[in-house]
């Protein structure tokens, strides 16, 4: 394991270059507020206000100019945006670099350089509004769900389905399951395309953060839960089917896999099919497999998940 740490340290130290701010050309906040009184009047409610009023490290103590850069030339030609880092309208990489000067240290942003949002040119100011935020926490430009729905239109539709996680009701946020700043590779499915899904502290799928009874471990795991993830059977945003299942009738869901076709499953002998005279599938009690296979996510006492 020491090799892993050594490699990380070596790579981290190699490009080390301290970021410097300040010096000639800086005017200070008192000058800024002369021409931007409304922004200044509201700024005391902004979390960034702390970089002015508190004894932050030297590179963060320049108030407005911490983000906007030295403004010494800006008053001479206020309409020339090349003389000030106006943020808005700047190339995505510039925006990202500006914010990450302070925010890169957050663990939640460890994958921001490779996230799908960054790849698609969705950077900080697409979602956050530093001066006109609608939420004091995280300075979001809109309420979180509305912000996400702006681009994820089909997800908006899913959360209006009859069965859905209570995002529209406000009990759950998108960020309970997703990290918009990028996620680590998942530990389920093929381990790629993280789709910004967060993981629990123990690196399980985000679902078990709330659905703790499904986390296990179990003596008898239902392998797809662990190997392919909860989405094998569930559509987590919302569906027209009870229990967020992918199919309305339970047995049609189960029988898609349990066909006894060789080659599938952990043994390669196929996933056992209930083709027996016992399972009279035309009878209603056998159409809900989980009526009997009650602990379908995993059981400690029964290999068939019957108790």
């Amino acid at each position: 394991m020491w090799r892993f740490y050594a490699l990380v340290l070596l790579c981290a130290l190699a490009p080390l270059r301290a970021q410097k701010l300040g010096g000639p050309g800086y005017l200070g906040d008192n000058t800024c507020q002369l021409c931007h009184p409304t922004i200044w009047a509201d700024f005391s409610r902004n979390p960034h206000y702390k970089i002015i009023v508190s004894a932050a490290p030297a590179r963060q103590t320049f108030g407005c100019e911490s983000c906007h850069g030295p403004g010494g030339e800006h008053p001479k030609k206020p309409t020339d945006h090349s003389l000030i880092n106006r943020i808005e309208g700047r190339p995505p990489k510039v925006v990202l670099d500006t914010c990450l000067r302070c925010h890169a240290k957050d663990f939640s942003k460890a994958n921001i350089r490779r996230s799908v949002h960054t790849t698609h040119d969705v950077v900080c100011t697409n979602c956050h509004s530093v001066h006109r935020a609608q939420t004091p926490k995280f300075l979001l430009a809109k309420q979180q769900r509305d912000l996400c729905y702006t681009c994820h239109l089909e997800t908006k539709a899913q959360f209006d389905m009859p069965f859905h996680h209570r995002v529209n009701e406000g009990a759950i946020n998108c960020t309970d399951c997703h990290n918009p700043h990028g996620a680590f590779n998942p530990t389920w499915r093929a381990g790629v395309r993280p789709r910004m899904v967060t993981e629990s502290f123990g690196n399980d799928e985000a679902c078990v953060k709330c659905h703790v009874d499904i986390r296990g471990p179990f003596v008898y795991e239902h392998p797809p839960v662990r190997i392919e993830g909860c989405e094998s059977c569930h559509s987590p945003h919302g569906t027209t089917n009870p229990r967020l299942l992918k199919r309305p009738a339970v047995f049609t869901l189960c029988l898609e896999c349990h066909t006894s076709v060789l080659g599938f499953g952990k043994t390669g002998f196929g996933l056992q099919s209930p083709v027996t005279s016992f399972h009279r599938i035309e009878q209603p009690q056998f159409q809900n497999c989980v009526t009997c296979h009650v602990r379908i996510h995993g059981s400690n006492v029964d290999a068939r998940f019957e108790r």
């Binding site: 005391s44 663990f107 239109l153 009874d213 190997i227 309305p248 009997c292 006492v301």
Partner: protein, 715 residues
């Protein structure tokens, strides 16, 4: 155990969740209104060294429900009563010299709504930051998906989270955290034991009942974030402790607890099956972002979980032939363990504004082991099976190695290209070996399953106008050996998105298509194979569009439309009735065509009133199939299938394929009118309708009218 059922009155065939006491509510609200009007404070004002912003909305909500009330409670669940609809309080320091620089409280639904959430942040810059969150989610848990809902019970889930950061934004930050999840609610379980031919406990009639899980999960966390020479070290150590303690007896089961029609109800039954477990975890992250041109992130996570369990079950039932009471006392005890280690290393390189590269390598190893020993005491002894202690052992191990490489190239400020290549190799090992009590395995080998997946994405970003952005990409992938018949095998997908933003106008549209075809890796098929196809075919297409206009005042509207199309075809054995080759040899299709629309409109009338109206509809047309309850008239329909089709008209046998489709409509219009009584007080009145209508059966349809009146007060 709490099996709360709502108090209700039935009037003219309608369920009313409680008398809404309109007069009392209105009177109280008007009284409060007069009281508030006498107060003379600003909405956003300075008090001493602090600036205070607040808003609270308090009122009464009532619900009139007709139809399947249980279905309503499992999906909407608003009921009658007073509640704090919404509240926010924010104090911010003017100069950052107080004991506390910020207090931020938000809450909604407190007091009566089935969904309640509150959050609080208290912060003193560079000294501490405390974040607290509290949520309650109440719903009716319909244990069986399609059963008329008669076996559901209330579920209450309480989630709490507390995070304390000491010395935030300093070189050394200390983090402490606590999380708690508490759930009271039903879960199905059964008495079933392998009675080996004992007629007192018939295998096909075993006792299935609803049990309260009563589970609690506590999580403690502690760690530090250290910045040293520009490198950020983040360490977190935690302990997750889980327990569930269900105790069940025949007398304590709630009405309706027996869930299997025709199932056995034993003469006596008692069971206790506690599970206690813990999951300690450690996480170390090392990050360096050197001025944006090169960044490194390394992470290592280790989690070792274990659950210890015992199941003590006593059951008695007379032998239907001899009349002799037969008893079984079962003990199952053991433990399950899972260790999981994950390492990631990400290197990102941005040599300029045009190029960006990233590579992530990960390895994950999960190993689950467990032992479950089974002991049974029988009276009278079964001569056919004298019984023996058994020890079952199971192993599941997954090793996953992945690598993802991204390249991003900005050709011009208006054109960007990106590509990604993913490679993963996975090994799954499994062993299931019954052992006798002496620990001698019966010779089941260790199975090993390996597969390799390659996939790639290529895409383009365009910004032809400052107001217009377009994006399109295509993905293709191949997995050498899918784990299940619905796993990814040969898949591809395409995405196209466009967004136009001009002043207060926003228009966007998107298209997503994904397709996967899975084939069994081995051939020829074995003789006992009944399905004609040996995999599945999945195709999904999603179209969506949205137009919104939201000037600050006085109007605004938003309109959305989406079509979510899904069809799957597989050789699933929907009707695996032995001796019916004409049925078992068919394909099975599942069709879903969901149309979704939403329209909202806001109008502020002379700064004295605001009207908001909205309408949303979800309609699954299912391609015109499944419009029961008409039994399909198909000459070739096999006779034994007829009772099934009669019970489930959403299944159609068209002579060639078995089609299952579930058309339904779910609509919800709403309106809200707010009157500004003065600059601190608004009076609101609102209404929302929920209509759920299945076309394949009418058993679960419901209609609900939810209305409310409230006052929003800013002091």
């Amino acid at each position: 155990m709490s099996w709360k059922q709502p108090h209700r009155h039935r009037r003219n065939g309608r369920d009313r969740l409680a008398a809404p006491r309109w007069a009392a509510a209105l009177g109280l609200c008007l009284s409060l209104s007069l009281l508030f009007c006498l107060q003379g404070q600003e909405m956003d004002h300075r008090t001493g060294d602090y600036r205070v912003t607040d808003s609270f909305e308090f009122g009464y909500r009532s619900a009139f429900v007709s139809g399947d009330r249980d279905m309503y409670r499992s999906s909407v669940n608003y009921n009658n009563g007073f509640r704090l609809f919404d509240g926010s309080l924010r104090l911010t320091s003017n100069d950052g010299h107080g004991l506390i620089d910020e207090i931020n409280l938000t809450t909604f639904g407190a007091g009566g709504d089935p969904y309640q959430a509150s959050s609080l942040r208290v912060e003193k810059n560079r000294f501490f930051r405390l974040d607290m969150g509290f949520r309650i989610i109440n719903y009716r848990n319909n244990l069986l998906s399609i059963s008329g809902g008669e076996h559901g019970f209330n579920t209450e889930h309480i989630l709490e989270n507390y995070d304390l950061t000491l010395l935030p934004r300093r070189r050394v930050e200390l983090v402490l955290g606590y999380g708690r999840s508490n759930q009271n609610g039903p879960s199905l379980t059964s008495q079933n034991i392998d009675a080996r031919g004992e007629p007192a406990f018939p295998r096909d009639r075993f006792f299935v009942y609803a049990s309260n899980l009563h589970q609690v999960n506590n999580e403690w966390r502690g760690g530090a974030n250290v910045t040293l020479a520009g490198i950020k070290f983040s360490f977190l150590q935690g302990l997750n402790y889980y327990k569930q303690d269900p105790v069940n007896s025949l007398d304590a089961l709630p009405a309706g607890g027996q869930t299997l029609a025709g199932g056995l109800i034993p003469a006596a039954f008692r069971r206790s099956d506690p599970i206690h477990g813990s999951t300690p975890f450690s996480r170390l992250n090392i990050h360096s972002d050197a001025n944006g041109w090169f960044s490194v992130n390394g992470r290592f996570v280790y989690a070792g979980g274990s659950n210890h369990f015992v199941q003590d079950q006593n059951i008695a039932n007379p032998n239907p032939v001899t009349g002799i009471l037969v008893t079984r006392q079962d003990f199952v005890l053991g433990d399950a363990k899972r260790t999981q280690g994950t390492g990631d290393l990400t290197l990102s390189f941005q040599p300029g504004e045009r190029w960006a590269f990233s590579n992530t390598s990960s390895i994950n190893q999960t190993r689950i082991t467990g032992a479950s020993s089974f002991v049974e005491i029988r009276a009278p002894a079964n001569p056919l099976d004298p019984g023996a202690d058994q020890l079952f052992f199971d192993l599941l191990s997954v090793r996953l190695i992945t690598n993802a490489t991204d390249a991003n190239f900005r050709l011009t400020p208006k054109i960007g290209l990106y590509a990604q290549y993913n490679y993963s190799i996975r090994r799954i090992q499994s062993r299931e070996l019954p052992e006798d009590i002496s620990g001698i395995p019966t010779g089941v080998p260790l199975y090993s399953f390996n597969n390799v997946e390659n996939s790639g994405v290529a895409g383009i970003r365009l910004r032809p106008l400052p107001t217009l952005s377009l994006l399109g990409d295509f993905e293709y992938g191949d997995d050498s050996r899918p784990f299940t018949p619905i796993s990814q095998n040969r898949f591809h997908g395409a995405t196209a998105k466009g967004q136009w933003k001009w002043k207060s106008w926003l228009a966007s549209a998107s298209f997503k298509e994904s397709h996967n075809r899975t084939q069994a890796p081995f051939s020829p098929l074995p003789a006992f194979e009944l399905a004609p196809t040996t995999g599945s075919d999945y195709e999904s297409r999603q179209y969506s569009a949205n137009v919104g206009w939201s000037p600050n005042k006085p109007y605004g509207f938003d309109a959305s439309y989406a079509k979510l199309h899904l069809d799957t075809a597989s050789g699933i054995l929907n009707f695996p009735v032995p001796g019916l080759p004409e049925v078992s040899g068919r394909r099975s299709l599942y069709l879903s065509n969901i149309h979704y629309g939403r329209l909202t409109f806001r109008w502020e009338i002379r700064q004295r009133a605001t009207l908001f109206v909205g309408y949303s509809i979800v309609k699954d047309t299912a391609g015109g199939e499944g419009q029961g309850p008409v039994i399909p008239v198909v000459s070739s329909i096999p006779a034994p299938l007829t009772p099934f089709v009669r019970n489930y008209p959403n299944f159609v046998f068209n002579g060639a394929d078995l089609i299952n489709a579930y058309p339904l409509t779910y609509e919800s219009p709403q309106a809200r009118l707010s009157f500004r009584l003065n600059k601190r007080l608004d009076w609101n009145v609102g209404w929302q309708y929920y209509g759920y209508h299945e076309k394949f059966t009418s058993l679960q349809n419901y209609h609900a009218n939810i209305s409310y009146t409230s006052f929003r007060w800013s002091f």
